[in-house]
Amino acid sequence: MALLEIENLVVEFGTSAGAFRAVDGISLKVDEGEVLAIVGESGSGKSVSMLAVMGLLPWTAKVSADRMTFRGRDLLGLSPSDRRKIVGKDMAMIFQEPMASLNPCFTVGFQIEEVLRVHMGFDRRERRERAIKLLEAVGIPEPEQRLKSFPHQMSGGQAQRVMIAIALACDPKLLIADEPTTALDVTIQKQILDLLMRLQAERGMAMIMITHNMGVVAETADRVIVQYKGHKMEEADVLTLFEAPKNNYTRALLAALPDNAVGDRLPTISGPFEMPASGSAR
């Protein structure tokens, strides 16, 4: 049985000009221990569809789907309080800007322990021990001292490591990483990606990697979904996607990489693209 199963997800936002459809009929499945990359440019609906899964969209968003299940449980029918028992525990998410995701008023130790208190009901000593272990696992030196640090005392890379520690605190089955390295330097990006892949393999956890960077896709994914303007353009395993992309949008996207440039002009991405039928099965 698939860990996460979504069929025909539609997300609409109410605007003054009428409903805007940000996600239009996305279907996907994630199996246990699998790394799925969702790649697309801004406005492709890649973040919005995962925020819908997490239940983190604002009230202006209208989410509907034929099916949205996590470990066999229907996510759409859950009450908010039942949903909060899953989100952050079995299903966790990290975001692009680590500094914006951490609360500047509390120490990182407090913020890691908060998750353990809410979801696991650990007592004070257990929480502290587990927090130290987590910081060690994400590669922060002197974890006992660092528990007392505030977010502003850390670098961007370290803050992202803390975010990963918080996400992993309850041993999630699924980690959703939304552009986790976009705000970081390349050498730090490499460290964070290596860390995520190591933790993913050690824990056998499933991961959804949202990114716009084809290099990150190539370095992490087992399977890839390409999204464009809320539609799923193509789904393939990573090797097939890079070797023999079927959709012409995917081909244009790969051709526009400066790495693949032939001659002194880059091919630009311009439509029309072969849109798959809305709500197509995978």
Binding site: K190, E219, F242, I269
Partner: protein, 275 residues
């Protein structure tokens, strides 16, 4: 035939931080003795991570900031803004485009006025001529006449970057400093802006100093490459030299860290993962 347009020798920039109640005063060495020279019509790419001093160097090259020590020569003239100030002519020659086009345009200024403003400040051309020149430049960067009276918020990120480039070109500069001009843009838009920059370079014989942290973009656009690390230029050479045989350890680390999107490296990774 080609002559040197920009020469920097031993550029140093220190920032003195005044001590506070609990912190002692200290000096930050942002740029530590950087030297290079650049010929007309070429592109020099400066690569480095945050804190490597590449943007400080950009400020010095555009004469916004003065170096603490070292010599800067632009188009044969020695520049010393602390002692001599700047002439209008010197200011005209070097222009800059910043990373974030959202932040570098005044939200209450129409695009036509954005483009004409450098002419108002630096020339005494009459209004009609300013208007014509602005309109011409608008077309040059791939926008249309109906964009002339619109405000910045009505444009996409790529279009705003085109506007910022157009504004920089209004005074016919010789040298354009581009501080991460495509970092905030999507892949498809990035390709368009890079093509535009290549076209403009051919048309106006522009010299570019292209600051970036993206090695794939640098490999595509640069003639010469300088890698900066903690304020020092650790590697400097032609694109072929730097990319085929990097000498400094940091450059090698940087190359190793860049994600590779080719089939061969995916195969290797999948084989490692299966093992």
């Amino acid at each position: 035939m080609s002559r040197t347009i920009l020469e920097a020798r031993g550029i140093v920039r220190d920032y003195h931080m005044r001590g506070g109640l609990f912190t002692p005063a200290r000096t930050v060495h942002a740029v530590k003795g950087v030297s290079f020279s650049l010929e007309e019509g070429k592109t020099l790419a400066i690569v480095g991570e945050s804190g490597s001093g590449k943007s400080t160097l950009a400020r010095i090259l555009t004469m916004i900031d003065a170096p603490t020590a070292g010599e800067l020569t632009i188009d044969g003239e020695k520049i010393d803004i602390l002692a001599n100030g700047l002439t209008a002519e010197q200011r005209r020659k070097v222009q800059i485009v910043f990373q974030n086009p959202y932040g570098s345009l005044n939200p209450r200024q129409k695009i036509g006025d954005v483009l004409a403003e450098p002419l108002v400040i630096n020339t005494d051309k009459p209004a009609g001529e300013r208007r014509d020149l602005a309109m011409q430049m608008l077309m040059k960067v791939g926008l249309s006449p109906e964009h002339f009276n619109r405000y910045p918020h009505m444009f996409s990120g790529g279009q705003r970057q085109r506007i910022a480039i157009a504004r920089a070109l209004m005074l016919n500069p010789k040298l354009l400093v581009l501080d991460e001009p495509v970092s905030a843009l999507d892949l498809s838009v990035q390709a368009q802006v890079l093509n535009l920059l290549a076209d403009l370079q051919d048309e106006f014989g522009l010299t570019y100093v292209f600051i970036s942290h993206d090695l794939s973009v640098v490999r595509y656009i640069a003639d010469e490459v300088m890698v900066m690390y903690l304020g020092e230029a650790v590697e400097y050479g032609t694109r072929e030299e730097v990319f085929s045989s990097p000498k400094h350890d940091y450059t090698k680390t940087l190359f190793a860290a860049t994600p590779r999107a080719d089939v061969e490296s995916i195969r290797k990774r999948l084989a490692r993962r299966a093992a």
